[in-house]
Amino acid sequence: MSANEETQMTDLEHRRPGGAGEPGAESPVDPDGATGITRRRLMGYLLAAPTLVAAARWDTEEATAAVPTVQLTNTLDLSDVLTAAALPTASLISVTVNPDGTVSFALPRAEVGQGITTAVAMTIADEMDVPLDKVKITLADARPELLFNQFTGGSNTMHSIFTPVRMAAATARGQLMRAAADELSVSTWDLRLREGVFSTADGRTATFGSLAEKAAVSRTVAVTPRLKTQHSIVGTDQRRIDAQDIVTGRKIFAMDLDVAGALPTMVCRPPTINGRALGVDNAAEVLAMPGITDVAIIPHSQQVPGGVAVRGKTFGQCVEAVRALKVRWGGSSVSGKSDASVLADLRKAQLPFTPPLPGKTIDETFTFHFRPGDPLETNCAVADVRKDRAEIWSCLKSPILAKQLEVIVMPPTTDTPGGAGEFGVAASMAAVACAYGRATGRPPTSFPINHGGELGFEPFATVPPIPASPVDGLAKAGVKRPKKKRARKAPSKKKKAPSRRRAQAKTAD
């Protein structure tokens, strides 16, 4: 790799980054070709820290605006809008070089199977000439200061984050190279960088790890790094960086989190849209069921899909308790309506089509019923709600939205779980978990039952809230169990069995 790094450094302690007259701002990198975004210049920053931390910043013409004014003529699609919205806070994401030689980056997005952690790791490995397995990607805690830069959606992550991540990585690489040149008493021109190791012509070496602290700065400094012109890893076929954890069952999803004091919790959701729980007729009875510790009404609102929550020692106990609940429901916004009546209303509201055009026309009507898309993972959030704060553990694609939904998201969380099947966990789940926490003073694992309910849609038909788990799993698996032996180990069934026989005998008589 080229050892030449054209950099300029500026003391920024008392100045605004990217300000007028700053050397860094005068010689900006303009990677227009990569993003198609114009009128913006990208700066690198070295941040004051014990070890090397590098960041990037888009220096915009309207640099002080929290949200840039995006001219529609400059935007092509949703992704461009999202990318533009993420620009003002791109400086707040940074690459850290650790003394153990690894490079870490906390991705402010939700990994729900898209592979963005792998893609970002590849981007950093490529830009820094460090082995891919030395790049450690974690998912960032909720960071309200990132504004629109912590929203996962619109297939936009790599679009919006690729260049800022490259800039941060290139800034780190440049600083490491300067530190290596100093350490090895050579010019940066005389250094070669390969696999995270700088080497001189006479065979002396310095590793990223050995330089991590030496390359750190005590005052935030602006630099203008040079991005690599040729990719070595980006564009190549790489395996997911979380594949090993996945195939061994070690990947953590929200429901796998072990948060002290948290117990399985389920919400019995209303059988109708916007239905609200008015009361529970048998709360005491349900509370007395095995393992159940709490029964609480969660008030329904536009943001919080309410219902009646039960908390137990196992999800099995919660299932039984939810099934046993006798809830008085009211307040549905679709009282008296059905799928058929809604369809009839839609047909009435349909605008007449234009008169048939000359030639052959085909006139057919197709009805597509709404089908919410759900992940395979059961929606789950763990909330620890206290008087003055709350902490949420979940895989949220819009943690800022979660905050708007009356959820207070407080870093730091230690385990940000991955999510499943594209959707992550709906922000409203965090809201439900918080509402439950407020209602009971407990830190629960929240698990709303109706798939799709979290999106605000529920079936019209009144259905049992949740079916019981089957008991015929062994028979289905082809495992044979003699009845006698089974009866010995299930005394409760043994008792029931004779009564059934008696009942049968009676009917036979």
Binding site: R240, V247, T248, L376, T378, A477
Partner: protein, 186 residues
């Protein structure tokens, strides 16, 4: 509550839970074994698929009272130990073909795959396309084509030496079948 005991991933465990508690909750909520995933709790999605005495089963659909003290339950966590390696050959195939996306269903997919190969081997044949068609593990990401490829790759990698000790157990099973089939012939 009654104490239930069984062999989990090679180690004997005892749990004090109600008879009707499904095995999945015993594994996840009582024993903290999170490899088997909770997708539906109804025996449909197969995300919790594990092995009982080498056969694939859904712990969400089996009451703990049905489990005997001699039963060997294996979850994804205990799968590599069944071949005495850091990774089971099926897991290696999974890595090689980069099967997973979000990963939620994958432990169940792998457990189903291993059981499928063992089942086919017990019948002295290879996994067929029809066998693969019969798999019911749901994947929301749609990794099915790679799952199918990986099962065949994993089958090729699974040690044949390990089959031999399993065969004597498997052999008596095919034998009764001809007996059962024999009355049909006349």
């Amino acid at each position: 509550m009654p104490v239930h005991t069984f062999i989990l991933n090679g180690k004997r465990v005892s749990v004090d839970v109600a008879d009707d508690e499904r095995v999945l909750w015993v594994l996840r909520d009582v024993l903290g074994v999170n490899g088997p995933k909770y997708g539906c709790g109804l025996g449909v999605c197969q995300a919790c698929t594990s092995h009982i005495n080498g056969k694939a089963f859904n712990p969400c659909s089996v009451p703990i009272s049905s489990i005997r003290s001699s039963d060997r339950i294996t979850t994804i966590e205990g799968l590599p130990a069944t071949v005495g390696k850091p990774l089971h050959p099926m897991q290696e195939a999974w890595l090689e073909l980069d099967v997973a996306q979000c990963g939620f269903c994958q432990p169940g997919q792998i457990m189903s795959a291993v059981a499928l190969v063992e089942e086919a081997r017990a019948k002295r044949r290879k996994v067929s396309d029809a066998d693969l068609d019969a798999l019911r593990n749901v994947c929301r990401c749609g990794t099915y084509p790679r799952v199918r490829e990986a099962i065949k790759a994993g089958e090729a990698r699974m040690p044949k030496a390990k089959r031999k000790p399993a065969k004597p157990k498997a052999k008596p099973k095919p034998k009764p079948k001809p007996k059962a089939a024999a009355p049909k012939r006349p």
